[in-house]
């Protein structure tokens, strides 16, 4: 048996074991359903959520705002990262503020956004944009600072314009870091949307979590968490695929 097959087999065995323990251990210890629901409880609850709680619409809403917030936040982060990377002056002037904003817990802005924009989709979108923005910006900016000066000089010696140098040398050089930033950002996007929906929403999986929590329906909360994770994994996987295609020219690491 090849090593890869063994790895898969072991991983699946672990999953099966966890699910078995989850199914049988809590009832055996007398833990009530509203604390830890069994696997079958959760599957049953999933059916009920599908029929009674607009599960599909709520899931799609969360997925959509995750994607939208991720797209807007990373586009802004990349754009500003590249602009600051082109201007040492503005980078130095603005870097303390960027650092401060980067450290500030972005999810804490959620109640503020609700006060400003009301109980609609804007606050959760803003939290997501804000939380996605920084890792992309910071990665791009760091990459712009470490572009090989000799490569830039080579392009200059070939009389390339500032724009050509950016397009042909700097941007492609920073692509690996941009992709790494996007990968980090994709995992954070789900958190942004969830917090926005938890704090003040009436749609989405985050809302189902706070609603289920209020009803002491632990199965509903668990289901929503699983679905949020699935959304995050999907976004992340798409990015990993894109990265493999875009960065095919990097030599593969051998294990």
């Amino acid at each position: 048996m090849s090593q890869a097959t063994t790895q898969k087999l072991v991983a699946l065995t672990i999953l099966a074991l966890v699910l078995l323990v989850w199914q049988f251990l809590p009832p055996a210890l007398g833990v009530p359903k509203f604390i830890i629901p069994t696997v079958t409880d959760m599957i049953g609850e999933l059916g009920r959520m599908y029929r009674r709680e607009d599960l599909i619409a709520n899931t799609l809403s969360t997925a959509w705002y995750t994607l939208l917030g991720f797209a807007i936040g990373s586009a802004l982060g990349a754009a500003i990262g590249y602009l600051l990377g082109l201007s040492e002056f503005w980078e130095r002037v603005l870097s303390p503020y960027i650092l401060a904003l980067q450290i500030a817990p972005k999810v804490a802005f959620a109640p503020l956004f609700i006060m400003w924009f009301g109980y609609n989709a804007t606050p959760k979108l803003l939290v997501t944009v804000l939380i996605v923005f920084f890792p992309v910006l910071v990665n791009v900016l760091a990459a712009m600072k470490t572009v090989d000066r000799d490569m830039v000089n080579l392009a200059r010696a070939y009389s390339m314009t500032r724009w050509q140098i950016f397009k042909k040398v700097e941007f492609p050089s920073t692509l690996p870091n941009l992709m790494a930033g996007l990968r980090i950002a994709s995992t954070l996007a789900v958190i942004g949307v969830t917090v926005g929906e938890l704090v003040g929403g009436n749609t989405g999986l985050g809302f189902l979590i706070s609603y289920g929590g209020g009803q002491a329906n632990a199965a509903m909360v668990f289901n929503a968490i699983v679905l949020l994770t699935v959304i995050g994994i999907l976004l992340y996987s798409v990015l990993v695929c894109a990265e493999e295609r875009l960065l095919h020219y990097l030599p593969k690491k051998e294990h």
Binding site: L154, A157, V169
Partner: protein
């Protein structure tokens, strides 16, 4: 006259407020088609000479002329190559060779044709669609030479292009560069640390002094076979020339 340094001095302002004179009152001329090597102790301003020829910055005083024209900005008639091949890893070899032509209004088809011709000349036919990481160090340097030659420069500047190669590859690549350059008839300025390399590859060696660098001696290499450094390496005169440079650089005294 392909290249002329006329009383060139370059002073840099350091961040500490002090001034550093990299090269001082440099004078030399390189004729068309000539291959001139520049050797000197570390930090003697060899790379400064190269950057001023390429037009990346200007002398503090004095004049640099390429093909009779004063160099005031990055000069499209100068090609340069460093120890690092500076191939763009995201481009195929042929797209890398085309890189220098993309800012000069050469049509797509002509770029491709010229790049193919250069790859052939540099013995890289068949590798045009490879990516740099798929090539060996020596092949990558040959690809960098093809890129340098593709812009049809009046002069090429080689800044220690062989120093990152292993000893045997180095011999072969020196030979292949020398042949290609001779065949193309291009004026070349080679900057190097390797005394033997300076003698076997060039028509003339400029020996620089310690910083601030200035030309302390010009040595004519009166030997045939410039296009075959491997053959030249066998000649016993090579050692006499190398010894002369060795003495000029006072390497024995530095070692003590």
């Amino acid at each position: 006259m392909a290249l002329e340094f006329d009383h060139v001095t370059k002073t840099f302002a350091l961040p500490t407020g002090q001034e550093l004179t990299a090269v001082s009152d440099i004078n030399f001329k390189v004729e068309k088609g000539e291959f001139v090597a520049v050797v000197g102790p570390s930090g003697c301003g060899k790379s400064t000479i190269l950057s001023m020829t390429a037009g990346l910055y200007q002398p503090t005083s004095g004049i640099v002329r390429v093909s009779g024209e004063v160099v005031t900005k990055p000069n499209p008639h100068v090609g340069f190559m460093l120890q690092k091949d500076l191939l763009l890893p995201w481009r195929t070899i042929i797209k890398n060779v085309e890189f220098g032509l993309e800012s000069r209004g050469v049509s797509k088809n002509e770029r491709r044709d010229r790049a193919m011709a250069e790859l052939e000349r540099c013995h890289l036919k068949g590798f045009e669609n490879h990516y740099p990481y798929q090539l060996s160090g020596g092949m990558r340097q040959r690809a960098a030479l093809a890129r340098t030659l593709a812009i049809d420069p009046d002069i090429i500047l080689l800044d220690e292009p062989f120093s990152a190669l292993d000893a045997q590859t180095k011999l072969l690549i020196q030979d292949s560069f020398a042949e290609t350059i001779k065949e193309a008839g291009i004026t070349t300025l080679l900057i190097t640390h390797d005394l033997a390399e300076s003698v076997i590859m060039s028509d003339r060696v400029l020996v620089l002094s310690e910083r601030p660098g200035t030309v302390q001696r010009e040595i004519e290499i009166g030997l045939p076979n410039r296009e075959h450094p491997l053959a030249r390496r066998q000649m016993k005169e090579i050692h006499d020339y190398a010894n002369e440079i060795f003495t000029l650089l006072k390497l024995d005294r530095r070692a003590a």
